[in-house]
Symmetry: C2
Subunit: 120 residues, 2 copies
Amino acid sequence: MSKDAGQPSCPIAQTLGVFAGKWKPEILWNLKDQRLRFNELQRAVGGVSQKMLAQQLRELQRDGLVKRIQHQSIPPHVEYEATSLIKTLEPIFGELERWYKDNAPTVRRAQKKYAKNNPS
Amino acid sequence: MSKDAGQPSCPIAQTLGVFAGKWKPEILWNLKDQRLRFNELQRAVGGVSQKMLAQQLRELQRDGLVKRIQHQSIPPHVEYEATSLIKTLEPIFGELERWYKDNAPTVRRAQKKYAKNNPS
DNA sequence: CCGTATCCATAGGGATACTG
DNA sequence: CAGTATCCCTATGGATACGG
């Protein structure tokens, strides 16, 4: 019991669900202004396994954020590109970036202070 | 091996790391305009276990987003409240909320379409 | 009342090997 | 090249019981 009904109640969590997966921000970040092939993307993201990359790309496609472009050729040639829906995320990305620029030091200090008070 | 260096490269991921944990958005959402006690918070969030709530609260304290207020009394009385740093997240929350309002239907449609094309 | 400690099941995710 | 399939280990997270 106490099974979650499924939908998180607040819209914040809903939106995060779409783009806040483990590798998604970096994938979107890299696709923001360029098409990339699978391997290029894997190198660009750095540290992601094939399995994870494929999976996250599938979810991004499902949610309409990324489009898969298959060129018929041998050897196969596939490119991924951001859809127009991604453009609507830009204000969010902008705010996230700005927040980091403005507040990262504050967070660092809080963490140091916390660490000092908590002999883990 | 192949241990990740630690820091994700893009600031987006950095910022998300601070507040995008599984229960954090809902915790912050509830603390936004009121102090709450541990049990109140647990009920408010809904579905979160004691263990998870305690853990997420610890992280939020560590990152300076939440303050723990301990009243000395028997039985113990503890309250959690948002710090001023949380205020700086509001533009982000605002954008996230707005995005959901504007684009949730689009995402739904994309998902339906994707499901139709992918007999999973 | 406010948590921590412990146990345990499940899902996440890496490495590797293989296919169209 | 662009993935899937498999194996396997670890981290996550729920339930329960206990301590300050």
